[in-house]
Subunit: 506 residues, 2 copies
């Protein structure tokens, strides 16, 4: 929550008035781009892939676990074949809805059903703002993104490292990042599934911060991680080890195949969706075999590549169709669904606006429960932008207001007001308007609704310039959420102990 | 159709490769923001308004017609009250789907059902491009917009005057505009319902251009007009007279109330929708009483005003909800539905992108059949932008591709290709990719998918700069559609005869 005006009076321009915290629920029946027969064909193709070709699991322990569970494992190789009975039986153990409870229980989120949870940008190597330009990620910017994520109500969850803090040593970086996530914020956060120890550290630190025992954390998880397959049909060892550690700790697993049509998956959408489905379900099945009932999320990220460069493009028509098809597949297996607010734009121009909206509408219309990269994503994820985070806050708020139900009753039908205004009259002065006008409509934080002349006369500020001012106002007013000093001590001690251990091992 | 490369070789940058002409059909069940009970409450409220308060029809002849049809007309006043039986009986005569056939029958459009027809920007007083800046409308710019509308396949229909050519005398302007619409284009167009004679001239010129008799034109209409009510609950004389002339000639009538919540309608959405419904249905009822069975379209344009300035804002959450509710109301009466691609932005920046997409997605998800202002609208309609027309062409093409069905069969499921690539492999070189990659994905005309460095190195061109180059390429390659010289002569002669008559009357 922004503590606007706490330290200094509110600025005239660039002030920040946001929507109060809210649970966003999607009232719409999800849109369908596939008929039932097409969904079944894709299902069948993906099961056939897992049965006949199989998938490479690049971790001995994972293969052994799968072999014991009934999979056919290639001797001396990485290939694992699972029949559909085994896969479907395993994934049926995943809950269709679950909650994640961070150290502040008021920030709990429910994933599944008609809930829509928005995450911050994650995993960008670079960040940018108008002042400092485009730069490699660092811990200062990392922390600033966390402060914004904490302060902006419509961002429910930290979706990962907003930007990689490469100025910190790679081996101990996670400790500093987790410490920031647990002290600068009190929302749900996301450690990376990069091997066992980093994930164990995350769970340990969550346990310190929440006072919940490992057993309690299993019953009341507070973290999620994204497991990306190395498409096509492969998953690497660090991911599998991280997955195992977090699954055994009862934390949530969002599995997202990297199926970029034309490069990492077939050039046809149906083929890419079949492959996405095979990779997602095989990985979720593995999680359920290790830890039956662990919360899992079906991730859809299928898009097309630019055939000129081979790079993925986002917010494209193919991306939007795949997003909606992915929602249908997730629902077929009664799994919560993850999508994104993605775009390929290099600048905060009109392309960033229309591509982001293409992605966001597709996500919402697909019935997505978790919208990754909800605020701050630019350049296909290569940049976390401070200004884009604020502009996306506008987009997410607009979407949340769009999803709010329309009240239809005698008061809102307002026949008396229409009578009072009368034919050819106006409503500015009616009692009905005066009672409601201050809160009747969504008030934008970025959109400029003044006419051209007023806008020109006041300096023709761009959305990016406005967002730049807003993000600084928020940082300026930021105050860390309350934390028991004893817990803070304990977290610090853990970080330093583990840092020492890791440094000695190196 | 763009005749790219007809006159000169294609430019390397700023070239224009567009989707071939296509009928856009919407495969989705329309989204619903109101439940059935809420729809009925709004229906009931709107009928109550027409029965008890009534609506002002500012034309003697219209009131007399309505009186004879059973309405209660205030003696010596403009007020008309109609009971719901009368209204519903009249509007039931309107077809739920119809076609408009311009002088080139290949450009025919069907309005209703699952068809989506995109129109050019209409009715802006100003226009702009990067070269000339923002300027008052003129005939040269008017004609250039018509040439673009003709050349761009995804713009199916000329939605009105893209910009008002104020350098032409107001009284005879329509003759020059119609002549342009019939010679620079062969698509469906839109004369304004501004009195009887202008509309009679439009029908007469269409008759010359198509060789269809008035009787044939009634059976095979080729024009549509938008009737705006003067909200609240009023309709002026020129609109009523133009409506009558066009309705008697069998041409299509799109009725769009100007219900801007907080100013011209109640500050609550339910009240604005009730008023929108009352105004739209009363006007459509009038059209059906004059000309039973004449094609009519239910228009939804309800949005909120900026309570600071009183000006309407577009692409807002309230606008999107009203758009979808409007579609539900139109379907309740089995009428085709009109929406828009609207925004309030002053510049071709990110706000124009996200507001336009908010409007366009809401339109498509609402099941809109006619999307007015599809390409070129800026500043709440105060500016027709040449660059925005090209950028919107991208948006409309993206939407059309998004709406195309996904093929799911053995070839597209591509199990062989996945086998060929194999776990950890890639698809660039598979036979399946090589056979399809050139046409597999939507190719953008504006979106820049290059990475940041390539984009920077090539000059960091903005979308607006790119669009500027594209629109000139299109104009450069433009050639007028074929027209029999005898018909052209006859059109010219008619224009000059009527110009003389009007000048002598003045």
């Amino acid at each position: 929550m922004a503590r606007r005006g706490h330290r200094k009076p509110r600025r005239k321009d660039g002030g920040f008035q946001q929507l109060p915290p809210r649970v966003v629920r999607n009232p719409f029946d999800p849109v369908r781009v596939l008929n039932s027969e097409q969904v079944e064909k894709i299902h069948h193709a993906s099961m056939t892939l897992l049965e006949t070709m199989g998938m490479d699991f690049l971790d001995d322990d994972a293969r052994e676990t799968l072999r014991r569970a009934g999979a056919q494992v290639e001797s001396g190789g990485n290939r694992v074949r699972m029949d559909r009975g085994m896969v479907l039986e395993a994934i049926a153990k995943a809950p269709s809805q679950f909650t994640l409870t961070p150290r502040n229980p008021a920030r709990q989120v429910t994933i599944g059903g008609d809930n829509v949870v928005f995450c911050s940008v994650a995993s960008a190597p670079n960040c940018s703002d108008l002042d400092g330009g485009r730069r490699v990620g660092n811990y200062r910017d990392f922390n600033n993104f966390l402060k914004l994520t904490q302060s902006i109500n419509i961002i429910h969850v930290l979706g990962g490292y907003p930007v990689e803090p490469v100025d910190l040593p790679a081996e101990t970086r996670h400790l500093d990042c987790y410490y920031s996530a647990l002290t600068l914020m009190d929302k749900v956060w996301h450690p990376y599934a990069l091997g066992t120890r980093r994930c164990a550290d995350a769970v340990h630190m969550l346990s310190i911060a929440t006072g919940r025992s490992p057993d309690q954390l299993r019953r009341q998880p507070g973290l999620f991680t994204v497991i990306n397959t190395s498409s096509p049909m492969q998953i690497d060892a660090p991911m599998l080890q991280g997955l195992k550690e977090l699954a055994l700790a009862g934390q949530a697993i969002a599995v997202t195949p990297f199926t970029f049509s034309g490069a990492m998956s077939p050039v046809t959408l149906a083929g890419s969706l079949a492959q996405q489905n095979a990779e997602a379900l095989a990985t979720i099945a593995y999680a359920q075999i290790i830890a039956p009932g662990v919360p899992c999320i079906y991730g859809g990220f299928t898009s097309n590549v630019d055939m000129k460069s081979g790079s993925p493009a986002f917010g494209t028509p193919e991306y939007a169709r795949a997003t909606i098809a992915g929602g249908q597949l997730a629902r077929r297996y009664r799994l919560p669904y993850r999508s994104s607010n993605a775009n390929t734009a290099n600048a905060l121009g009109i392309q960033a606006g229309y591509e982001s909206m293409m992605s966001l509408w597709a996500a919402v219309m697909s019935g997505a429960n978790l919208v990754m990269h909800g605020a701050g994503w630019l350049e296909s994820g290569l940049v976390a932008s401070f200004e884009k985070m604020i502009i996306d806050t506008e987009l997410l708020q607009m979407m949340a207001e769009f999803l709010a139900p329309i009240q239809v009753d005698e008061n809102t039908l307002a026949l008396d007001a229409i009578l009072e205004a009368g034919p050819g009259g106006h409503f500015f002065g009616t009692a009905h308007t005066l009672e409601r006008y201050q809160t009747a409509f969504y008030q934008p934080i970025i959109s400029d609704w003044r006419n051209f002349e007023s806008w020109q006369d006041s300096g023709a500020m761009t959305a990016a310039e406005k967002a730049n001012a807003v993000y600084k106002v928020i940082l300026d007013a930021y105050q860390p959420p309350a934390l028991d000093p004893g817990i803070d001590e304990e977290l610090k001690a853990f970080v330093e102990r583990r840092r020492g251990e890791i440094q000695r091992m190196a």
